[in-house]
């Protein structure tokens, strides 16, 4: 390989001075790529390890050490024994059902209310729109934690303390979702609506046939984030539920530690059961997930 920069005499030597720095650059790139992958793997271990290593413990055989000397990271004999105990000896299935009920209520009401409100707040031609938008917008500055005392009193006065309906009521609509849908409806071209108006379509037909199909992406985001939130929420259920027959899965899982502290495998098996549905949804809906968050699926 020629490293001297000769004046252009023949095609070969002419290309040499150009090729040589390029090769050096390629080599540098390969080296930085190597470093890049090494650090990626390191970060991967740090981010995924603390989640996977404990959960592996759920697959240990009966009598295997969970803590202290003699405990291994990987199970010495793989077993689903702990899951059997979990389903037989605890109410985790009922809690699973309770969580499904709460999730269904929250996802349905959030989808319906945020599309209804988002649609009408995005349309012109009626009085009071700005005031209504302002009211919804103002809701964003009140953190849930600072209003939960009142929410507790409200739910109690309505007679829904210690019930699944009580879990759902204050969480039925997220103002941010409504504004997200409003933004999505604002993005639908005027021509589509005008054409529908000329065809004599009524409010409902325009909403259902013209607008909703145009905002499918935003709908998926609202549905997904609502489900994940409802599935994972801990603070409000722990405030409003008292009987363990009403517990959502998240509450039931935390109960396992006091009941099954002697067999930690069962506790970890419970954590896996709580995690699995979200894991599946995440990998199926990854595309929407990342795009959704980039487009503004922010949590407030």
């Amino acid at each position: 390989m020629s490293t001297t920069a000769l004046p252009a005499a023949s095609p070969e030597t002419a290309s040499a001075p150009q090729r040589s720095p390029r090769r050096a650059r390629n080599r540098r790139r390969a080296r930085t790529a190597g470093w890049r992958y090494a650090s990626l793997v390191l970060v991967l271990l740090a981010l995924v390890g603390p989640l996977v290593v404990p959960l592996l413990g759920a697959f240990k055989g009966p009598g295997e050490a969970m803590f202290g000397p003699g405990a291994t990271v990987f199970p010495q004999q793989w077993s689903l024994d702990a899951f059997g105990d979990l389903f037989e000896q605890t109410d985790v299935l009922r809690a699973f059902g309770n969580s499904i009920i709460v999730c269904t209520l929250i996802v349905a009401s959030r989808l319906i209310l945020s599309t209804m409100g988002g649609y009408i707040l995005s349309r012109r031609g009626w009085r009071g729109r700005d005031l209504m938008t302002l009211i919804v917008l103002s809701a964003l500055i009140f953190p849930f934690e600072s209003i939960m005392v009142s929410l507790f009193a409200q739910v109690r006065d309505l007679g829904y303390y210690n019930s699944l309906v009580g879990v759902w009521l204050p969480l039925m609509l997220e103002a941010f979702h409504l504004l997200l849908m409003r933004a999505a409806f604002l993005g639908v071209p005027d021509e589509l609506e005008n054409a529908a108006l000329l065809d004599g379509a009524n409010e409902w037909q325009r909403f259902w046939h013209i607008f909703l199909p145009q905002t499918r992406g935003a709908l998926v985001i609202v549905g997904l984030t609502s489900f994940i939130f409802a599935w994972e929420d801990y603070l409000w259920p722990v405030v409003v539920l008292r009987d363990d027959t009403k517990f959502t899965l998240m509450l039931a899982i935390t109960q396992l530690e006091s009941a099954f502290g002697f067999d930690y495998r069962v506790v970890l098996a419970g954590a896996i059961v709580a995690f699995l549905p979200l894991l599946i949804i995440f990998f199926l809906a990854q595309k929407y997930f990342f795009r959704g968050i980039e487009e503004g699926g922010l949590k407030f």
């Binding site: 990626l40 970060v43 981010l47 603390p50 989640l51 404990p54 959960l55 803590f67 202290g68 405990a71 009401s109 209310l113 209804m116 409100g117 012109r124 031609g125 009626w126 729109r129 009211i135 919804v136 103002s138 809701a139 500055i141 009140f142 953190p143 934690e145 600072s146 209003i147 939960m148 005392v149 929410l151 507790f152 009193a153 409200q154 303390y161 609509l173 103002a175 005027d190 005008n194 108006l197 000329l198 009524n202 409010e203 994940i228 994972e232 801990y234 603070l235 405030v239 998240m250 935390t254 530690e257 506790v267 970890l268 954590a271 995690f275 995440f282 990998f283 980039e294 949590k299 407030f300």
Partner: protein, 306 residues
């Protein structure tokens, strides 16, 4: 009206004038009932002696606020929350940006890394706290590793000491928040003009200079947003500390945060709890959160002007 040319007038839109109100009343009512009204009701409650399980309670003036200021547990919870926020905000503002830079380039297989990195954010705080408390126990894996490598002689009390509990909780918050804010930074980085980097390379700029002169100005707005989001989130921290201490807040509740205090004093104890006192603490939490956000915006604007 310029837009009237391209669209039809209001009269043609709705067959009845009240139709739009029919659409907007249910969602707006939900927002008012469960977001706006509760705030004013919380302020109202803070001037009463209402109990968790009964009655509206009578007006007691500023009694609750006076009690609050005299309650040592309140001050301890306040301190814990503020320290928590002050430690978490800088880390969760900077670290996710570095992570985003790491996964920014379209290397082969980067998609797999990105989605696996996201797992801590997908797992619920309950699952994550369970996994971490398993690791952080006195005879858990982390203490075993620390002792094996000779870094410590005896186990560190990650789940019992006041500050250790808070440090463990911060660790969980940071670890779980990293991938979430990484995605936000990725979307901001996508808008940074690539040709700026090439031009800087031509001028012989190293990666440090490129970071400070191109990347940082490019993601400045997002950085501001992330800092505010993290601050709001960490001031009201609850689940991490609550779960690591099995709901007790540590020995004598010494690691309790402000939100835990609100729940403990206001709601959890149905006979002796006081919605009024909880309401007063809620008002403090609200004022503190909004105040910190406004302060950070002010500082930010000042530093931008310079």
């Amino acid at each position: 009206m310029a837009r009237a040319v391209t669209s039809l007038g209001g009269a043609a839109r709705y067959r009845k004038w009240w139709v739009p109100y029919l659409w907007c009343v249910p969602p707006v009512a939900a927002v008012v009932a469960f977001s706006v009204y509760p705030f004013f009701n919380t302020v109202l409650l803070s001037f009463t002696d209402a109990r968790p399980l009964g009655g509206a309670g009578g007006f007691v003036g500023l009694q609750n606020y006076q009690d609050l200021l005299r309650d040592e547990e309140f001050w301890s919870a306040l301190l814990n929350s503020v320290v928590y926020a002050l430690c978490v905000v800088p880390v969760l503002t900077v670290l996710p940006l570095l992570l985003a830079l790491l996964v920014r380039d379209r290397l082969p297989g980067i998609g797999i890394f990105r989605s696996l990195f996201y797992l801590p954010a997908v797992a619920s705080v309950v699952v994550v706290a369970l996994a971490w408390s398993y690791l952080l126990k006195d005879d858990g894996l982390i203490n075993a590793l620390l002792k094996d490598t000779g870094l410590v002689q005896s186990s560190l009390p990650f789940l019992t000491g006041r500050w250790w509990v808070l440090i463990s909780a911060m660790l969980i918050t940071i670890w779980k928040g990293l991938p979430y804010y990484m995605i936000l930074y990725l979307s901001a980085l996508a808008n940074v003009d690539r040709s700026l980097y090439e031009a800087a390379e031509m001028d012989g700029a190293g990666s440090v200079r490129k970071f400070f002169h191109i990347t940082l100005p490019g993601v400045r707005l997002m950085m501001n947003l992330v800092a505010v989001l993290v601050m709001i989130g960490s001031m009201k921290v609850f689940s991490e500390v609550f779960l690591l201490t099995n709901g007790t807040g540590g020995i004598g509740g010494e690691s309790s945060t402000l939100t835990m205090y609100i729940r403990d004093i206001g709601i959890a104890d149905s006979t002796y709890g006081s919605l009024g006192l909880g309401g007063a603490a809620s008002v403090v939490l609200f004022v503190l959160t909004v105040g910190l956000v406004l302060l950070s915006q002010r500082l930010n604007r000042k530093s931008e002007e310079q």
